[in-house]
Symmetry: C2
Subunit: 163 residues, 2 copies
């Protein structure tokens, strides 16, 4: 009996995950804001991408991926559709994606989060794992952004402040 | 009816979270391994801590925090108890903590994950949020480690390879 109970214990609800993710997105938004315009698009370390490129990657995944999951569309991932010229372009698109994420996330059922889906025709995992990947990937790249800011002599926002 | 159902949808089980976390820990272990001995303890960018210090922080949180949660002990967080001299010291302790995490994580009930706990006498949040923080904090610092490795001309392990 104990074993069965343990195997199906809930860790968190979908609402809690969405709030957690949007909290992270809010922090990433402030990291984008913290970069000077020029360095956002040009500064890098060790041959890695500038932070603007990383932000475009994040923008190209979250909402688009959720839409694909909801509509069961396995079309390939594409970063070419959004080519920002300014920090303002990025922040505006960032805020639009906040709404797209809220819209599609709410349409995924509890059962669906456990089903396998071939995201972008390439990442065949349970939906909850794909969603965790979006959040993890954002934290990972943002950590890189923290180093860029420190190397530029700019203090990044506190990691634990999310709203 | 729909509203009530939506509000309590499960995102993932506790077993899935533990597997996810240990997958990340496995990747972090390989990042530690990827550093040359000297650079692990000395290399840094922008005045940030060397990766050995970050690894000690991670080691000082996960298992210790879970033990505190299970035993309802709010004793303060402390990084002074473990002072590694070599990469091998860190990796050995890392593996010991893997078992500590598995041991204590399994003792936290579904209800407990939703209860507020004053972790380390300082971080008063629902237990599931504290656990997410441990994972997020690890991804954040490891992202920093990736930049250190790239700056050293070393290719880091793939972000998506966890086991």
């Amino acid at each position: 009996m104990t074993t069965t109970t343990t195997a199906t214990k809930q860790f968190m609800t979908t609402e809690q995950l969405l709030k957690h993710w949007q909290g992270h997105r809010n922090l990433t938004r402030r990291v984008i804001e913290a970069f000077p315009e020029k360095e956002l698009f040009e500064f890098s370390i060790g041959g890695m991408r500038p932070f603007a490129k990383l932000a475009v990657e994040l923008i190209s995944i979250g909402g688009v991926a959720l839409k694909g999951i909801v509509e069961k569309n396995t079309e390939a991932y594409n970063e070419e559709g959004f080519i920002p010229k300014t920090k303002e372009d990025i922040l505006k698109k960032w805020d639009e994606e906040t709404e797209v994420i809220n819209h599609y996330f709410g349409q995924i059922s509890e059962e669906r989060f456990q089903e396998t889906f071939n995201l972008f025709g390439q990442y065949e995992f349970p939906v909850y794992e794909n969603v965790l990947y979006f959040v993890d990937n954002e934290i990972h790249h943002r950590g890189q952004g923290y180093v860029y800011l420190r190397a530029l002599g700019i203090e990044p926002p506190f990691f634990w402040e999310r709203f």
